[in-house]
């Protein structure tokens, strides 16, 4: 039964574009893991872009993603340590990792301008999804005030990334 429910959740999470928005209220330990995982995914995508792209604007954007998401994740790690919370893997974080792996596979097959455009478009979509989840699910569900505050600052940073990615998409056209 448990296995069945878990599978159903996974399918639900993966089936719709916004895996993160479908959650029932997650705990702080789960929220911390989801937020950290989401950051790691974007760092990995940026590292792929730095390996593949020769476009100056795309590379600068990827550098910004690595630097900012590392900074946010360092803060998150310091906070969970301080609060003595052990980040807990869950269906939502598993779902976004699965989605990210699929995206990485398709991006890896592209080169040149096709890669740049697909990477930039994915960055817009990805930040939109993460920001929606932060706004609708993660921030309202967080019980610890410091975690809520860090997530709120993270949201503003990631909204900036989304706008920045939109500019990159427009410039690549």
């Amino acid at each position: 039964m448990i296995a069945k429910v878990t599978t159903a959740c996974m399918v639900l999470a993966l089936g719709c574009g916004s895996a993160l928005a479908q959650a029932t209220k997650p705990s702080d330990a789960q929220i911390a893991h989801i937020a950290y995982t989401a950051g790691q995914i974007d760092i990995k995508a940026a590292e792929l872009a730095l390996n593949k792209s020769k476009n100056k604007e795309v590379r600068a954007f990827a550098d910004d993603m690595v630097r900012d998401h590392k900074a946010v994740n360092d803060k998150a790690l310091a906070l969970v340590k301080k609060l003595n919370v052990t980040p807990e893997d869950n269906d939502i974080s598993k779902g976004i990792v699965k989605q990210a792996n699929d995206t990485e596979t398709s991006l890896s097959k592209l080169d040149g301008a096709a890669f740049d455009k697909a990477y930039a478009a994915n960055e817009v979509a990805y930040h939109k999804t993460v920001n929606g989840a932060l706004e609708k699910t993660l921030i309202p569900s967080a019980s610890n005030a410091e975690l809520k505050d860090l997530l709120a600052t993270g949201l503003k940073i990631f909204q900036g990334h989304q706008q920045h990615a939109e500019h990159v998409v427009a410039d690549l056209k």
């Binding site: 900012d68 900074a71 900036g160 706008q163």
Partner: protein, 105 residues
């Protein structure tokens, strides 16, 4: 003694109001916003941003005429030269915007 001191204070006050010496206008960058977002300065004044955030920002003129890097917990400055209104933003987080009005001396 008393009138003399009063006179001195009066002179100092007069000097302060009519001074054309350049000033430093401080803007705090906190939680992804420029505070205050709008400032008015005079030609020759220095604008100093202090970035209180843990991520890097920039203060970049819309017309790209200047670009100030603001590392986490560090300051950056720009001296206003021409008069007019300048919109600026953060290159890393374009949702951060500000405006500087520069008046003549």
């Amino acid at each position: 003694m008393k009138p003399r001191l009063a006179g001195l204070v009066g002179l100092a006050a007069l000097a302060a109001t009519t001074s054309t010496r350049a000033e430093t206008v401080r803007i705090k960058v906190d939680k992804l916003s420029f505070e205050p977002a709008e400032v008015t300065v005079r030609v020759g004044d220095e604008i100093e941003w202090f970035n209180a955030d843990f991520v890097a920002h920039t203060a970049t003129a819309r017309d790209k005429s200047w670009d100030v890097m603001l590392s986490p917990k560090k300051s950056g400055t720009f001296t206003a030269t021409g008069t007019g209104e300048i919109g600026y933003f953060c290159r890393f987080h374009p949702n951060m915007v500000g405006r500087i009005t520069v008046l003549s001396k």
